[in-house]
């Protein structure tokens, strides 16, 4: 669960590829480095559009697989030749071809477990009874672009830019309440005839 840098604009889209195009343009135009996006499924090219680096999950896994192979082989060789050397069918104590299946599986087992744990750790995922969710539709069919902002001026410029490029709706997230596990949202600041004003308060949906 990635953390949002508050305050940040949340701009909703209903098409992932459209969001990727707008995200890249926004990142370049406003020189943003810490943007994020929420999508219901992986959108091809969105990592590049946001300037994210390639994940290191698989690099870690590969080192662990090789380590697992070494440990698996050492376990077999040590137990059958040093710790309790047993003559089985007149074979050498370290009859390495017979050790290959267990060696292979040891590496795969350790690599597989590591792969998931590293992924969960890098994403800070762990079981929690309540999850902070910006909008329940973000895991269904909506997409959100998150643009952290530093000033009201900047906020109104970016909101205007996003809305003119097809964002359906923009709000600002100011923080999260740890007690209730809910985001604190407010309407975006807009520039009307050169004056910054708050957007009209939205009518409660329920």
């Amino acid at each position: 669960m990635a953390r949002i840098e508050y305050p940040a604009i949340v701009a909703y889209f209903h098409d992932g590829h459209h969001l990727a195009e707008v995200a890249e343009a926004t990142r370049i135009k406003f020189k943003k480095k810490n943007m994020d996006a929420y999508t219901p499924y992986p959108v091809h090219g969105l990592e590049d559009a946001l300037g994210l680096k390639r994940s290191h999950v698989s690099t870690v896994t590969r080192y662990v697989i090789v380590t697992g192979w070494c440990l698996g082989f050492i376990l077999q060789a040590w137990t059958s030749s040093v710790d309790w050397a047993t003559n089985i069918g007149g074979k050498p104590f370290v009859s390495w071809p017979a050790f290959i299946p267990v060696t292979f599986e040891s590496g795969i087992l350790m690599g597989g477990i590591t792969n998931l744990l590293v992924m969960l750790a890098l994403c800070r995922l762990y079981p929690r009874p309540k999850t902070l969710v910006l909008d329940p539709k973000l895991t269904d069919d909506k997409f959100a672009l998150i643009v952290p902002i530093t000033s009201g001026e900047e906020e109104s410029d970016i909101v205007a830019y996003l809305e003119s490029h097809g964002a359906e709706d923009c709000v600002v997230v100011e923080g999260a309440d740890r007690q209730t596990q809910e985001y604190q949202m407010r309407p975006a600041i807009l520039r009307t005839k050169g004056v910054l004003t708050h957007e009209a308060s939205p009518a409660p949906a329920h």
Binding site: A2, H14, G16, V22, A37, Y38, T39, P40, Y41, P42, V43, L46, E47, L50, L52, S55, H56, S58, T61, L75, T79, S80, D83, W84, F99, P101, V102, F104, E105, S106, L109, G111, G112, N115, L116, V118, M119, L122, C123, Y126, P127, R128, P129, K130, T131, L132, P136, T139, D140, D141, E163, S164, G166, A167, E168, D169, V171, M185, A200, P202
Partner: protein, 481 residues
């Protein structure tokens, strides 16, 4: 069937399917009580599962003697069932890993249920060697750990290789499957109305929110899992085949057992997936997501692997003849014309003859025909393992020959294995997202209901701008926060 029914350039899934439709369809069975037919099927499956547990309990009390395993057939129905279920468990990881590597997008409709099937089949398979060791309560001695007995397992034994292969396969398949489930639990969580379900799904989803930073790690991890699982899936049935091939018994001692077993495993696994999906897509109204074309692709794989196993059957006979080894030649003569010759011909007709019906497109795309053929394939593959294990009944010396006569207990644990598998699968159908929702959405031709991806900026104003003054929209959903 006319060729224009499925034009080659048509998308696999209808352009009318939206992302939200996928979510609705897949999550619908999780939110309602099952129908009467589910309870009937579940009752039968659970009764058979309890039969399995009862027989295993009886075996613990009385001993292995209640089965007909004795010399010369010391393995019997346990190993037949073990190899059969491990084989069934090969389709899931093949679909999720190898088809992923080859970028076969049609896998997204079937991978979740096939992986679940894999896990349940491997769990079922694991029961049989565990009870076959006799003193199952000390089965943990198979794990190498520094015990007070100071002894280590014999790492040169193929049976120990099995322990490593099957446990690794179960663990890695389970983790791979769970990683795929995390975004789907999040979808279920965000739609749940009931507070208890929302909490359960929140715990299961590990706090997944769908951030691109998370998707970045997720996708690398998922691809890496596929690359780990692809050699793993090939290694597991190869190692299972070493149980036989590393011995010196005529009919077992052949070098081509590993590819032969892997092909057979894929063959039976895909047949089981077809059997289950033909029913599941109907019951859960998923016909638009798991289309006839998905099933047709699987039938093509069944046809291909059928020819691979047929080739293996013929090779076995040719090599036995060519070897000039009397015991080897007799083992195969006896397999086809001996006391268990009927089992050989059941296998041969089910596996090498009947699947050839899939050459006809009308049969490949007929639900009834593929259902019947997939069941024939499963029967045939059970008998293939039966034939191989029964090679023991006549080995080198006629003085040591004997026969394996199935007792009611043998039949009971065989039926019980199916009971355990179907109990788990039926529970899965009602409580898990049975299709990978997120992955499915990536393969929709038109997920958002717009036309194509190459649109310019600002072309999405149908819903976006309610108010004419740019940006002054007050959409209803912001009120929810």
């Amino acid at each position: 069937m006319s060729p224009e029914l499925f034009p080659k350039d048509a998308p696999l899934l209808s352009r009318d399917i939206r992302s939200a439709d996928v979510t609705d369809t897949v999550l619908a069975p999780m939110g309602r009580w099952p129908g009467v037919s589910w309870y009937i099927l579940f009752g039968i499956a659970k009764a058979l599962m309890l039969l399995l547990f009862a027989v295993v309990g009886l075996q613990f009390v009385i001993g292995l003697g209640i089965f007909s395993i004795t010399n010369p057939v010391g393995w019997g129905v346990y190993i037949v069932n073990f190899v059969f279920w491990v084989g069934i468990g090969h389709a899931g990881t093949l679909i999720s890993a190898i088809l992923f590597i080859f970028r076969q997008k049609w896998r997204t409709a079937i991978n979740r249920s096939a992986e679940a099937m894999t896990i349940f089949a491997v769990m079922t398979a694991g029961i049989f060697p565990l009870i076959h060791v006799g003193r199952s309560w000390v089965a943990y001695w198979l794990i190498p750990y520094p015990a007070e007995r100071l002894l280590w397992p014999n790492f040169r034994s193929p049976l120990l290789w099995d322990v490593f292969a099957v446990t690794t396969y179960l663990t890695v398949s389970l983790l791979f499957w769970y990683q795929g489930l995390i975004p789907d639990w999040a979808t279920a969580r965000d739609r749940a109305k009931n507070k208890i379900f929302k909490t359960i799904y929140s715990l299961l989803s590990f706090g997944w929110t769908g951030s691109v930073r998370d998707w970045n790690h997720y996708e690398r991890g998922y691809a890496q899992f596929a690359w780990i699982s692809a050699p793993l899936v090939l290694s597991v049935h190869s190692i299972v085949s070493f149980d036989f091939a590393v011995s010196l018994i005529p009919g077992w001692h052949t070098t081509f057992f590993p590819p032969y077993f892997v092909a057979g495993a894929v063959f039976s696994g895909f047949a089981m997936v077809v059997t289950l999906l033909v029913i599941m897509r109907k019951v859960f109204q998923m016909e638009h997501l798991i289309t006839i074309r998905h099933l047709e692709y699987m039938n093509k794989i069944i046809l291909t692997t059928s020819m691979l196993v047929s080739y293996a059957y013929i090779t076995e006979f040719v090599i036995a003849w060519y070897s000039g080894h009397q015991s080897e030649q007799y083992a195969f003569y006896n397999r086809a014309f001996g006391p268990y010759g009927w089992a050989f011909w059941v296998m041969f007709i089910c596996n090498a003859v009947i699947p050839h019906a899939f050459w006809w497109k009308s049969i490949r795309t007929s639900l009834g025909a593929m259902f019947v053929i997939s069941i024939f394939v499963n029967i045939g593959m059970w008998f293939e393992r039966f034939n191989i294990v029964m090679s023991l009944h006549r080995d080198f010396l006629p003085a040591s020959w004997g026969e394996y006569i199935m007792t009611p207990y043998d039949y009971a644990i065989t039926a019980g294995g199916f009971g355990l598998f179907f109990t788990l699968f039926l529970l899965f159908c009602r409580t898990f997202p049975t299709i990978a929702i997120g992955e499915m959405k990536t393969t929709l031709p038109n997920p958002s209901g717009t036309h194509g991806h190459g649109h310019g900026h600002g072309s999405h104003h149908e819903k976006g701008h309610h108010a004419p003054a740019a940006g002054h929209a007050t959409p209803a959903h912001t009120g929810a926060h």
